[in-house]
């Protein structure tokens, strides 16, 4: 066991080390990929180490730089950040392995830059997860934006550059115009930027200002892809699929909604939001976002674009959970970070696997592919069911908690929104899976399969390194179904008022 603080710092040093390693070995593919793989495993071990310290009750804090009281670069560990770091570090392993298979199988260029930026993005993500105050969060948030820009633009063609510009423009723009203002404003009000359980802002704040400030935060955190600042997400789909998986499941979007949760829980305080009603408008906007993005997703034929809109919808669940301003909502949102991460990364990795194996990107061309790519399509089916929120997959529990939270606020309409959204999810996710297995194959590139062939010969899967990770994360979706209780127990402290007792009366 390492010292708590050392362990905390090591979690950030390891991805940095991977970053340096990648830069130093531009032409030694195996050394770089292998080394990074080892580092990714070490990182998970290190995060688990931090977790064991945290579970033992040790308070883990580290102040790197102090400018003046209440203004510093500092790190600390709390349940939400711990969960986020765990998700990011464990899924990094999967994404990295997948990335190796994808980059090689797809004959992409510039591996070193790709994996270096990847590692740096993980560094920034861990920094966000463990940041102890808004300033640190903001800094790492921007680092994450910058480090993922080259990943989006990786293909270096016009489409990639255009997409990357939109990506950078919206994320940077919103964060500087809104988020920075919100941070400065918060500092001027509270005199500190340190996250505090129950909220760092004074509870006596005028509800009107609370609402405006919340708006600055909500729109400033563009990574949460709250409508109308969601466009960067579909635009970023030009990136290679491992990046999409990282962006849409692990690092970027989850950093966004994670920041939303942090702001809701530690800056405003759930009770404060509830008593002032300042988040009412956000709840409606998130609800709108959930439905509108789902409906748009139905109209997309490009698989990655459909998944991107699905992500926008799902991220709004978490924003929605914060905006409900109940402890159950916040915890449900935290749980949804985990469950959605596993579900959506599975879907993206499957989309990539399909692309590697067949070079197909449109859903209408994917009919009948399940017969030759059964593993990919079964994983895709599991991921879909988890996203929809069906048992026995992880997603069902976060939806359940959000439903209970919505019931707490007495908003039947909001319950209706969640219900309709689930149905819409079925309508745009399941057909991909079902058509894969139960429709005759269309177009070229599909192998003639006859029933008498041994099953191995029927396969036309992508390389093992590309197929295995989504299968593993799909299994993760099932495992998490049975361990959701543990995560919820772990997250419970973020809500100061225990949810179950207070609301029964």
């Amino acid at each position: 066991m390492m010292e708590p603080t050392v362990a905390l710092l090591t979690t950030m040093a390891l991805p940095l080390a991977a970053f340096v390693l990648c830069l130093l070995t531009p032409n030694h593919h195996n050394i770089r990929d292998g080394g990074t793989f080892i580092i990714s495993i070490l990182l998970l071990g290190c995060v688990l180490n931090v977790l064991s310290h945290f579970n033992a009750g040790t308070s883990i804090e580290y102040e790197a730089l102090a400018f003046q009281p209440g203004l510093s670069i500092a790190f600390s560990v709390e349940p939400l950040g711990m969960v986020f770091a765990l998700v990011a570090s464990s899924l990094w392993i999967a994404t990295h392995v997948y990335g190796i298979g994808y980059m090689r199988g797809n004959k992409e260029q510039k591996h070193a830059r790709f994996f270096a930026c990847f590692a740096f993005a993980i560094f920034a993500t861990i920094g966000i997860a463990f940041s102890a105050n808004l300033l640190t969060l903001f800094l790492f948030y921007e680092l994450l934006t910058i480090s993922t820009y080259p990943l989006v633009a990786h293909k270096e063609n016009d489409a990639a550059k255009k997409g990357a510009r939109t990506y950078l423009g919206i994320l940077m723009g919103t964060s500087i115009v809104f988020l920075l203002t919100a941070v400065v404003w918060s500092y001027s009000i509270a005199g500190t930027l340190d996250f505090k359980p129950g909220g760092m802002l004074p509870t006596t704040l005028n509800p009107m200002f609370t609402a405006v400030l919340l708006a600055l935060f909500a729109f400033g955190i563009g990574k949460a892809a709250l409508m109308p600042f969601h466009r960067w997400l579909p635009a970023a789909m030009v990136a290679p699929t491992p990046v999409s998986a990282l962006l849409h499941a692990v690092a970027v979007v989850k950093a966004g909604v994670f920041s939303m949760l942090k702001v809701g829980v530690y800056v405003f305080g759930i009770d404060n939001l509830a008593s002032t009603g300042a988040s009412q408008w956000l709840m409606w906007l998130a609800a709108f976002s959930i439905l509108a993005a789902s409906i748009i997703a139905m109209a997309q034929d490009n698989l990655k674009r459909r998944l991107a809109y699905s992500t926008i919808s799902q991220l709004s669940y978490i924003t929605f959970g914060v905006a409900l301003a109940t402890s159950m909502g916040a915890i449900g949102g935290g749980l949804h970070i985990v469950t959605h991460a596993f579900g959506k990364i599975t879907l993206f990795m499957c989309a990539g696997a399909i692309y590697v194996a067949t070079h197909k990107t449109n859903i209408s061309e994917m009919r009948g592919l399940g017969k030759t790519m059964p593993f990919t399509f079964i994983a895709f089916g599991i991921g879909s069911l988890s996203i929809i929120g069906l048992p026995p997959f992880a997603g069902s529990w976060s939806k359940w908690m959000l439903l209970v939270a919505a019931a707490d606020t007495g908003q039947i309409i909001m319950i209706g929104v969640l219900m309709v959204s689930s149905i819409l999810n079925v309508a745009y996710l399941i057909p991909i899976f079902a058509r894969g297995f139960f429709s005759p194959a269309t177009g070229t590139g599909s192998k003639a399969v006859n029933a008498d062939m041994p099953w191995r010969e029927k396969l036309m899967e992508a390389p093992l390194l590309v197929v295995l990770p989504p299968c593993l994360t799909a299994i993760g979706c099932i495992v998490l179904f049975f361990y959701a209780d543990t995560i919820v127990d772990f997250l419970n402290p973020i809500a100061l008022a225990p949810s179950l007792e207070t609301n029964n009366g």
Partner: protein
């Protein structure tokens, strides 16, 4: 001894192990073994609540065995065995897995002691069962399956929402009798109503069941709807307005059944009609009525499976189940014909067949509580059932005009499954007390009174005479290749049109809005670039005076923010 063994887990374990067993007789035998092993804990466990878990601070009961859940899980197990025997010849791994998972989920749901566990299995039945429809692997069955799945999942989602609201209203997740004073219970009732095919919520049933494979339809017919009946009986027994709902359910399907051509769809309409009897029983809610509902569900699952099996066998041999294409098959499929007639006699409630001893309980219970109109409707529906299921099915399949088809007799496993089911149908009719003794309540009931028997025969004979008269006079509508519009028209023709428009509209508005947002973002970026970029203002060397001025402005801004921000 087996307190750790949950019957549903036996099925799931079976479903999981299946693919690793060589596909052939070994696997088929394993499949048949599963329902038998699943019976062990069911028959050996004492009544009570076991296998409890804690989730999010609430205790969940996954195995609640009492008299009501016992009857239903027992008949589910029996139905699983019989329909899997019927499907012995199927070598499609996916159908095998789906069938086991589906049956297991239904049993799991019947044993669930709380709403969360119920939800888990409830959705389990939805997900597993859709594969039996998709297994047909045609464009039509894919689309039908999607419609089916969406409605089934909607039912589950409504259940979950209802559970959440109910939980917050009452602080309890227990699945017992639910009071309709809260909003949550209404959601739950709606969810049950969808699965139970209440009028206007019914059409998924007629749409989907005939679209499944030969064996899939038999398996489908047993579980989903009867699970809903169980859930209603558990949660909403004695809810008055279920009586008119149930009465309406017995009524409208029989009209459709008369003009429907696809015999499997005729059977689905009559399935819907039979569910109506059970819903009436639940609505009446007396001990006799609940007993009647449970007994009727029990015998109904058997005779309905038997009818689906026999029509399935015809389909299996001839490639069609349409009345317009069939006829005269008794010549070469005599056994199938006999079994079909036994199923028809059971559903028509001929004395000495299973339907008689269970349906008469519901009619007696309704009459006893003075539901006169309902009783008249049920009587009409009984006659109607005989008309369209009892006569129409065997008549158009096996007799009528000779279609010239000379299919071979059904394979042995189908005949054996049908034979066993037929035996049970007769056995229940002849020795009703065995079934009565496992019903939820101890109520003495004798179906074989002279009044009952004679009036029932009068009703049935004159329905038959009506059929004969109408046939001979040519009034009876001929079987025609056709589709009859039902409520599904609203979501198959109308809704897609509306939704298509909405999607177009939202997308269009959306891209406009998004473009606007992007443009403003880009404008902001350009402005920033003008100041902060390499050529921008900020990058240029500035005199100290300017800096002081900027600092003053910044400070002033901070001061202003401070003043404004202070409450």
């Amino acid at each position: 001894m087996f307190e750790w063994l949950h019957p549903a887990l036996v099925y799931l374990a079976g479903a999981f192990l299946l693919p690793f067993v060589p596909n052939g007789k070994a696997r088929a035998s394993l499949i048949l073994l599963v329902p038998l092993i699943g019976l062990i804990p069911l028959l050996t466990m004492p009544y009570g609540e076991t296998l409890q878990f804690t989730l999010f601070g609430e205790t969940l009961t996954t195995f609640r065995l009492d008299r009501l859940s016992f009857v239903f899980s027992l008949i589910f197990s029996l139905a699983a065995f019989l329909s899997l025997l019927y499907a012995w010849h199927v070598r499609d791994t996916m159908q095998q897995v789906a069938a086991l998972a589906y049956a297991g989920s239904a049993i799991g749901a019947a044993l669930a002691g709380d709403l969360i566990t119920l939800f888990v299995w409830w959705e389990g039945t939805a997900i597993a069962s859709v594969f039996l429809i998709w297994a047909r692997r045609t464009e039509g069955s894919y689309n039908t399956g999607m419609r089916y799945l969406i409605i089934q999942i909607a039912s589950g989602v409504v259940l979950l929402a209802g559970a959440a609201i109910h939980y917050r209203e009452t602080g309890s997740l227990a699945f017992d009798k639910l009071s309709l004073e809260g909003v949550g219970a209404w959601f739950i009732l709606l969810s049950f109503g969808i699965k139970c095919a209440f009028p206007l919520l019914h059409n998924w049933l007629q749409d989907s069941y005939p679209a499944a494979t030969v064996t899939g339809t038999v398996i489908l017919s047993a579980f989903t709807t009867k699970l809903a009946v169980y859930a209603l009986a558990r949660g909403f027994a004695g809810t008055d307005f279920l009586i008119p709902i149930g009465a309406a359910m017995t009524l409208f399907p029989i009209f459709y059944a008369v003009i429907e051509n696809d015999l499997r769809r005729v059977l689905t309409y009559s399935l819907n009609n039979q569910l109506g009897f059970m819903v009436v029983g639940i609505g009446v809610g007396s001990e006799l009525a609940i007993n009647g509902t449970a007994a009727h569900a029990f015998s109904h699952i058997l005779y309905k499976a038997l009818l689906f099996m026999s029509v399935g066998a015809v389909l299996y041999r001839t490639g069609t189940a349409k009345g317009s294409e069939l006829g005269g098959l008794y010549k070469t499929m005599p056994w199938t014909m006999v079994f079909c007639v036994i199923g028809a006699a059971s559903i028509s409630a001929f004395p000495l067949f299973s339907g008689f001893i269970s349906k008469s309980m519901i009619l007696s219970a309704a009459a006893k509580d003075g539901h006169y109109i309902t009783w008249l409707i049920l009587l009409f529906a009984s006659a109607g059932v005989f008309h369209h299921s009892g006569i129409k099915i065997p008549y158009f399949a096996f007799f009528a005009h000779d279609s010239g088809k000379r299919p071979a007799e059904a394979p042995w496993n189908m005949l054996l499954a049908m034979g066993l089911t037929a035996f049970l149908c007769i056995a229940i009719g002849v020795w009703p007390n065995a079934l009565y003794s496992i019903l939820p309540f101890d109520v003495k009931y004798n179906p074989y009174t002279s009044t009952h028997v004679i009036t029932q025969f009068q009703l049935l004979f004159f329905s038959a005479i009506a059929f004969g008269t109408l046939m001979r006079t040519g009034i009876y509508p001929p079987e025609l290749k056709s589709v009859n519009l039902d409520t599904d028209w609203t979501y198959r023709k109308m809704l897609p049109a509306v939704l298509g428009f909405v999607i177009l509209f939202v997308s269009a508005v959306w891209s406009e809005l998004a473009r606007g947002a992007t443009n403003s973002a880009l404008a902001i970026r350009d402005t920033l670039a003008k100041f902060y970029g390499p050529e921008g203002r900020v990058a240029q060397v500035q005199p100290t005076g300017y800096m002081v001025l900027w600092l003053a402005i910044l400070l002033g801004a901070a001061l202003f923010v401070n003043l404004v921000g202070l409450p």
